[in-house]
């Protein structure tokens, strides 16, 4: 069995975005361009979860990953470091927290 080449998220996704899901959670959408790319990422959800946890300094059980076929997307949700708008928050809407995802390879 041959292993497939690594997938770099920013090279295969057509959308990678972040936003709040309520004031305590950050949610990321990785939208894939076609069923092939969606299947490829969906087959590696465990690895994705582990790498996201590491990139965002979270334990794996704090990171939820859901494959959402109707939009050929994978959704990732994790706790915010600071509740939206609290002292020390740097991104009240959470719209610019996706950058570490761009570099993830699966």
């Amino acid at each position: 069995m041959t292993s497939s080449p690594p997938l770099r998220l920013q090279e295969i996704a057509r959308v990678i975005r972040s936003k709040n899901a309520g004031p305590c959670l950050l949610t990321f959408d990785v939208m894939l361009p076609d069923a092939t790319a969606f299947e490829a990422v969906s087959a590696r959800l465990a690895a994705l979860r582990e790498k996201v946890a590491r990139a965002y300094g979270r334990s794996e059980n704090e990171v939820a990953v859901i494959a959402y076929r109707p939009a050929l997307a994978v959704k990732i949700t994790l706790p915010r470091d600071v509740v939206s708008g609290d002292i020390g928050d740097r991104d009240v809407y959470g719209a610019q927290q996706h950058a570490p995802l761009l570099e993830i390879e699966l």
Binding site: P23, T27, M31, A71, S84, G85, R90, Y93
Partner: protein, 465 residues
């Protein structure tokens, strides 16, 4: 006869699809007139607009302020109010004034009264305030009926007292009670956005899961389209599904774009959670009717075991003052962490000689760590960077004292290896300090079990003759 009365009569004579116009998902930031007018030519049965969201942060709820300008909110309310009265169809407004607490609802109602008087409009309006009584909430805590959302800690009586404003997100049943008061216009304080568009379908007996799904999409106007935008959208609901069509020709509701909308600002794209239950989207299908219209079927309503209301509260944390400046010295940028720490100490020694350290002072270096608290240092440093100092103190005067002192000592701090001894900062203007008003934090984001919200959140009717 009122607009809702006329609609109910019409459906009693002959059952047919229900046509809803989602005119704005963020009232106050502009409603494009061409798409709204196009929608009004399509025989809509109602117009709905949402004014609020929790995503804008705690300041509006805490401070009792609208997020858009009053003039922006007034302009948009005038458009939809006149449109609804012209066609004699119900207008439903949710989350009045952005955060939906008493000052927000009062400001919204005041604007509506002004418009009604100026434009000579006649209508009956049903209003439901959503401010959560503190004693009821405290009793709920004592009875074990309150639980935190997500990562919030358990709620305490002290936090209840600390909230400047406390609201409950009212659900479909509150919209329905307001409509059942036989009105033309409904305005709610903080409310679930789906209630705006799912309440009339509930009265007419449409399947609740499908109605809730449509409501969740059309409340964002044409955001579900490709390209997404704020133009009015038409949702046509029947007993098996609904059809979506943007009222702007440049926007297409495609199966992919509509399906993708379920991801937006939601932790789980397969669920829409509301006080009375949730819509299960696992078996939903999206089918193109043509290039610009999509039909959606398959959402199923699952009733909740216990009805809950989501509560939101924001507490005052202090007054905020800021320092805004730039830097282009590579030694300053490279050494910024130590420099900020040293200046923080210098400032503390000066402003705390005869007062306690009653404030918090922090810095961001945009270009380096303004947006994220990065785990690892950047591979290279930027040529220029933006410095933001932020102080939060018990009074505005104290916050300004700290930030102005900070400006002076950060400007002249003699850090290790400095070559540029005339000043460390570039001020884009003076004063480079500004007072940014009161600061708040979300201190309540919890659920309370509540079997009968009607008793706590009654409908009030106001008549414009």
């Amino acid at each position: 006869m009122t607009a809702i009365g006329r609609l109910l009569d019409d459906f009693a004579r002959q059952r047919r699809p229900l046509r809803s116009l989602g005119a704005s998902g963020q009232l106050g930031y502009g409603i494009p007139t061409p798409a709204l007018e196009a929608g009004l030519t399509r025989s809509p049965d109602m117009i709905g607009v949402d004014m609020g969201s929790i995503d804008i942060g705690p300041n509006y709820l805490g401070g009792g302020k609208l997020a858009p300008t009053r003039s922006g909110a007034r302009r948009d309310l005038r458009k939809v109010l006149n449109a609804a009265r012209r066609l004699d169809i119900p207008l439903i407004v949710g989350s009045a004034g952005s955060a939906g607490a008493k000052p927000h609802l009062d400001a919204t109602l005041e604007i509506i009264r002004e418009i009604a008087a100026e434009d000579g409009l006649r209508f009956r309006m049903g209003v439901v305030a959503s401010d959560m009584p503190r004693d009821v909430l405290k009793a709920g805590i004592a009875a074990g009926k309150v639980r935190p959302m997500d990562t919030m800690p358990p709620l305490t009586e002290a936090e209840v007292d600390a909230s400047s404003h406390l609201v409950a997100q009212l659900g479909l049943e509150a919209f329905r009670r307001a409509l059942e008061a036989d009105v033309d216009v409904v305005v709610l304080g903080r409310a679930c956005d789906t209630g705006i568009f799912a309440s009339i379908p509930a009265m007419l007996g449409f399947p609740p899961g499908i109605a809730m799904h449509m409501a969740k999409i059309v409340e964002c106007a044409s955001l579900c389209c490709m390209p997404g935008g704020r133009d009015t959208i038409l949702g046509v609901l029947d007993d098996d599904g609904f059809e979506l069509e943007s009222m702007a020709l440049s926007r297409a509701a495609t199966p992919a774009s509509v399906a993708a909308h379920s991801l937006y600002e939601q932790a789980d794209p397969f669920e829409i959670r509301e006080p009375d239950g949730w819509a299960d989207l696992r078996d939903v299908t999206y089918r193109a009717l043509d290039a610009r219209r999509t039909r959606v079927e398959g959402a199923v309503f699952r009733p909740a075991e216990r009805r809950t209301l989501k509560l939101e509260g924001a507490a005052f944390v202090g007054h905020r003052a800021l320092l805004l400046a730039g830097a282009a010295d590579p030694r300053f940028i490279a050494g910024h962490r130590e420099i900020f720490a040293q200046v923080t100490n210098v400032v503390r020694d000066l402003v705390c000689e005869d007062q306690p350290e009653d404030y918090r002072l922090g810095f961001r270096l945009y270009g380096v760590d303004g947006v994220r608290n990065w785990a690892e240092a950047a591979a290279s440093l930027p040529r220029e960077a933006f410095v933001m100092g932020e102080c939060i103190a018990p009074t505005a005067e104290r916050a300004e004292e700290v930030i102005r002192t900070t400006k002076q000592y950060l400007l002249h701090h003699g850090y290790e290896g400095r070559l540029s001894t005339a000043g460390n900062l570039a001020f884009p203007f003076t004063p480079p300090e500004l007072s940014a008003g009161a600061a708040y934090r979300f201190n309540v984001f919890h659920l309370i079990e509540m079997d009968d919200p009607a008793a706590l959140f009654p409908v009030e009717v106001e008549v414009f003759r």
